[in-house]
Amino acid sequence: MAVTKRAAKPGAKSAPASAEELMAHYRHMLLIRRFEEKAGQMYGMGLIGGFCHLYLGQEAVVVGMQAALKPGDSVITSYRDHGHMLACDMDPKGVMAELTGRIGGYSKGKGGSMHMFSREKGFYGGHGIVGAQVPLGTGLAFAHKYKEDGGVSATYLGDGAVNQGQVYEAFNMAALWRLPAVYVIENNKYGMGTSVERASARTDLYQRGQAYGIPGEQVDGMDVLEVKAAGEKAIAHARGGKGPYILEMMTYRYRGHSMSDPAKYRPKDELARMREEHDPIDRLRAELMEWGVADEAALKAVDKEVKEIVTAAAEFAQNSPEPDPKELYTDVLVEA
């Protein structure tokens, strides 16, 4: 098993990774990319309705973090959740079928794009009220500590969400009680149409836990290996009983806020520049070749495999039946 060191980049924090791991990261990121492109298409065809927030561009964040987490850990995020679920190894068929509102979806079709869960995979949703998942993630960490199960919770939130008061109520409690919580701020530069500079008095979001003594770090969120290295450090801190940790992932969303947002508020070439110079998948692909981990043929094989998974998911999502009308009344309270 070849062990590849990160190219000698000044200040690189990346841990060595095996060829298998590197290929797995590539495959995972590509799966999210193709899945989201397909979801966008299906939205355009009217097969998906309501709100649909794509994760295109941010793939390295969840894939890197997930590589640093262990089975038994917990993950929770906002409505921009498709990538997180695929990273948690939830079945793409079940995720896509939830997008189309079919019975084969993770929430029997009742939640849609924003609300999916998997107890089995430790994925706690899929939440629509900005910032409200942060106290929940803190509670997940509380439970890990109370049960002494060695688990850690990873709570994702956006650069817009950091201005919600309940985030700070949660930070204080997590620090006070030394909870095994890692807060991952996905700074994709915009909360809906408002840039970080126009929403936040200070834009160094990794410092937002300073008042509570929570260490924070800014990370290149377009680089899966940097993310993984930072994630490992933060998770070790939390798992080791030292309390919460904040990671600010510098990333970018390629699409508008949701399918109905043409994203006209961004400077003209910002998107093109991010795609060309910082795309997380292109970057790893180039490195895999440069390091001799994979050749064109091996990468093509991954492309093909991913495409097949996504096609199968889309087919399943269109063929799975709609929930029976009676389902309207189920899952409100526990059924006797």
């Binding site: 009742k110 201005n163 809906m192």
Partner: protein
Amino acid sequence: MTTTTYREAVRTALREALTRDSRTFLMGEDVGRYGGTYACSKGLIDEFGPERVRDAPLSESAFVGAGIGAAMAGMRPIVEIMTVNFSLLALDQIVNNAATLRHMSGGQFSVPLVIRMATGAGRQVAAQHSHSLECWYAHIPGIRVLAPGTLEDARGMLWTALQDPDPVVIFEHAALYNMEGELPDTAGPVDIERAAVRRPGRDVTLIAFGANLHKAMEAARLLAAEKIEAEVIDLRSLRPLDDATIMASVRKTRRAVVIDEAWRTGSLAAEVSARVMEQAFYDLDAPVGRVCTEEVPIPYPKHLEDAALPQPEKIVAAVKAQLGARA
């Protein structure tokens, strides 16, 4: 007459308010550069500048509270909360502060604030984004609650609300923003006291507000085809309720069905129904009917969401049940 939309009517009202009163500013998430989630304030930042069309961070509790504070200090703020769903983060400020300050200060302070928010379901945005919680606000003494269901009211209620020295909450149903219609060029401020009879009829009174007014009107058309003439009342003001207009109609038709997108339990439909029972019991030929949302979180799939919400067919069925009670 000009053909316009509900959205444009709201925008014209905002423009009027910002033009006529220098103490007025618009504050909320994405109201400025983005032009508003529902594009209601599109272009206003260019006309009035970022000081008066102010983008707020994602901090509902704080910017609603700041609006209340500014109003105490003599400003006339219009605070936009993107949707009623997110107003829950500011509920404390509205209920504990805006609604009580006049009372608690022995009349020294008033809170001349207008809070606007979108409300309602019907767009497949699932359980956390589809609430109709108008009745929660209508429960609170110390605030006034409005629900413009027509272009005239979208255009005209805002200025009148701003003249009110007390806090006013305005609910704009999200399904209405694209509604098109004619608006007289002279359209301007309207009263915010009275319910309106939107369609006269003699057989039954349909009582609704907001987007559900139009479902009631559609039901009235369906009923008319069967020679049943429904009178349709648009509540317009949800607190205070205009009992006089409601009772006058019910005394005439002797039957009432209340349509409300909220869940039945504890809804405005419950309140209206109780008032009819109290004030017009002996004029009724049948118990008051209610068409509300099924008591479940709003599901994402279209067929389930449609089944959960009030629909013209359900209103027709409720009316027929009333008429059956007569026979």
